[in-house]
């Protein structure tokens, strides 16, 4: 996750997702922002905190097989640059979404729940917890 260009690609991917959603003719701006936030958090939750193991064989005799991607990152070391970056982006997206939904209650609740689903698994206290 810290190889060259990965963070830029990630941010561009979010931007691309938002532009495509924004192009849906009948969707309003608040709905588009909430959709962006929800889809981003759902993908992040699935790819970083649900799928376990590696999509290819590793020579570590199956050690990584039971770990999620988030737990495998940087060999399990906490508070690395990649981890900070991947923790901050959902928060920034959430703040933007809250702003563009004019702090509407319904959107606020949905976005907050969605944000928590990707923040809680990132806590160091929950490393390896099932």
């Amino acid at each position: 996750m810290n190889s060259r260009g990965m963070w830029l690609s990630y941010v561009l991917g979010i931007g691309l997702l938002h532009i495509i959603l924004l192009s849906i003719p009948f969707a309003s701006v608040p709905v588009v922002w909430t959709l962006t936030n929800l889809i981003h958090n759902l993908c992040m939750y699935l790819l970083l905190h649900t799928v376990k193991g590696t999509p290819f064989e590793t020579p570590d005799q199956g050690k990584a097989r039971l770990l999620t991607h988030w737990e495998q990152m940087d060999y399990g070391v906490q508070f690395t640059a990649s981890r900070k970056f991947l923790t901050i982006t959902p928060i920034v997206l959430y703040i933007l979404t809250s702003f563009y939904t004019k702090y509407d209650r319904a959107h606020f609740v949905v976005n907050t729940v969605s944000l928590l689903t990707v923040l809680i698994p990132k806590l160091p206290q929950l490393h390896g917890v099932r």
Binding site: I20, L22, S23
Partner: protein
């Protein structure tokens, strides 16, 4: 050829290529249409 190589769909099967192209071009059409309406 460059389009196939850069998007990576060079290695896909024909039906997957068609699926990818239809999704991509409909998304581009949507972006153009909405931009036009918006502007």
């Amino acid at each position: 050829y460059q389009y196939l190589l850069i998007t990576g769909i060079y290695v896909l099967e024909p039906w997957e290529k068609s699926l990818f192209n239809s999704i991509l071009f409909s998304a581009i059409a949507m972006v153009i249409y909405t931009s036009y309406v918006f502007v």
